[in-house]
């Protein structure tokens, strides 16, 4: 398995290798990896990549997954167009 070709975060195209390199570099929390790579910050808010990254951290550091995976999902929880928020008044 080529870890350079495995995409962990589909929103931001982050590979498994990038994630593993950061963990080995001492960035052993989801919050740090999020801030450095933008994984977990895309439209899906980490619903896909969050658990995968947490598992990698757990494998490398030996910490239990429950300790690592405490995602802070931010509103509005799913992508929302500005026009949906303000309404389409001006486009009739």
């Amino acid at each position: 398995m080529n870890e350079e070709k495995i995409i962990v975060c589909r929103c931001e195209d982050i590979t498994l290798k990038e994630i593993r390199d950061l963990i080995n570099d001492g960035y052993t929390t989801l919050e740090e990896i999020k801030r450095i790579t933008r994984a977990v910050m895309g439209p899906c808010q980490g619903k896909t990549c969050g658990p995968i990254i947490a598992r990698e951290i757990s494998k490398i550091t030996g910490k239990p997954i429950e300790e690592i995976y405490k995602p802070s999902i931010r509103p509005p929880f799913g992508g929302l167009f500005f026009k949906e928020i303000v309404g389409e008044k001006d486009e009739k």
Binding site: E31, P75, P76, L80
Partner: protein, 379 residues
């Protein structure tokens, strides 16, 4: 973790890591930095990521100008191979009221006298820079093309790496519990991971700096205020500069990544890190009015962070008069990220009792001396 340090810095935001780097670079050994959560957890990692030199006071102008020189050459300064995503596509500041327009005239004159070559634009000239800008009721704009954006996480990381390369010990997940003061002198610091003996402590705790002040029995003249912000999905580049209006109360820019970041100042003082639906709704109205094509952007995330406000909206970079060995880098009032490179150098000067590198008055004594010149240009 070391149990003895020459200087302990509290706070792993951009200010803390910049001070740590500059002390180590000046040859100070045994510098220890303590961060309760992780680097850039607080205001640094939650900010709008703008880098602006168009300020209304001499101090802020000088700090910003000198910081930009460092951002421009960051890899050489820090000797670290991290791309901080620095972009210089300007800041476009909009004037909708006479008062604001008059202030812009004064600001530009001041900036030009300090080597910041900003200029005033007509509404049509502003449209040349942002073609889809709604110029209804716009009186004019101020623009400087050397302002811009940098990635706060990566900049913090770059400074932290550079500091570590020079021997600084950075401790993440370590909470400061109390500070030991004897006869008005710093003696040490109690942390969740043990005691550190030191006679110098730098308070760079941002939104929590007043709490650190209380640990040495000092009431600091700062308070923390929630500001909200949001980010959109990334799209192709359509907006070059940061667009900002003080009276309309908005800032909005597109990052090199393609996402838009935007926010506005709160109407009331709230101490909380929670975001609100009211913000999302008002923000949507503001931005789609001023920059209509944004209505087709998807919001993916909103959050909140603290501005640590000082009485004159300029930073306090100073010794603490009441307690020997206690130093303050606080009260950045929403522009700490962009000023941090220069602030790190000034704090190094203060701790080493050197002459200040630049002619600025940022000591805490200015409030007692009534030398307050309030920064007029803050969102």
């Amino acid at each position: 973790m070391k149990n003895k340090a020459s200087v302990v810095i509290i706070g792993g935001g951009i200010t803390g890591v910049s001070i740590a780097f500059n002390l180590a670079k000046a040859g100070v050994k045994d510098v220890v930095l303590l961060e309760k959560k992780y680097l850039a957890y607080g205001a640094t990692g939650r900010c709008g990521a703008g880098v602006r030199q168009q300020w209304g006071t001499k101090q802020n102008c000088i700090l910003a100008r000198e910081s930009v020189k460092i951002f421009e050459n960051i890899k050489d300064v820090l000797n670290v191979d991290i791309d901080i995503e620095f972009k210089q596509k300007g800041y476009l500041l909009l004037a909708f009221t006479e008062k604001e327009w008059n202030q812009f005239h004064k600001n530009v004159q001041l900036q030009n006298s300090l080597g910041i070559n900003s200029k005033l634009l007509t509404p049509d000239e502003a449209k040349d820079i942002v073609p889809f800008l709604n110029t209804e009721k716009l009186l004019g704009a101020a623009y400087y093309e050397k302002d811009g954006h940098a990635n706060p996480f990566l900049t913090t990381l770059a400074y932290a790496k550079a500091a570590e390369n020079l021997g600084v010990e950075i401790n993440k997940g370590v909470e400061v519990l109390d500070i030991l003061v004897e006869y008005r002198k710093i003696k040490g610091i109690y942390t969740s991971h043990g005691f550190i003996e030191t006679d110098k402590v730098v308070n760079a705790a941002g939104g929590w700096s007043q709490k650190i002040g209380k640990m040495v029995g000092v009431d600091l003249p700062v308070y923390s205020e929630r500001h909200e912000i949001l980010a959109t999905e990334p799209v192709n580049e359509i907006l070059g500069p940061m667009v900002m209006s003080f009276s309309y109360n908005i800032y909005c820019q597109q990052t090199p990544h393609g996402s838009f970041i935007m926010g506005y100042g709160p109407k009331e003082k709230v101490e909380s890190l929670k975001s609100t639906w009211q913000f999302l709704e008002t923000m949507a109205e503001k931005v789609t009015y001023l920059l209509p094509p944004t209505k087709n952007l998807r919001v993916v995330r909103q959050w909140a962070g603290y501005y640590n406000m000082s009485p004159d909206h300029q930073p306090i970079v100073s010794k603490c008069e009441e307690v020997e060995g206690f130093y303050l880098a606080i009260g950045f009032s929403g522009h700490g990220f962009m000023l941090a490179p220069a602030v790190g150098i000034l704090m190094k000067d203060i701790i080493l009792e050197n002459e200040l590198t630049w002619d600025v008055v940022l000591d805490i004594g200015r409030f007692k001396r009534n030398e307050i010149i309030k920064e007029p240009s803050v969102v």
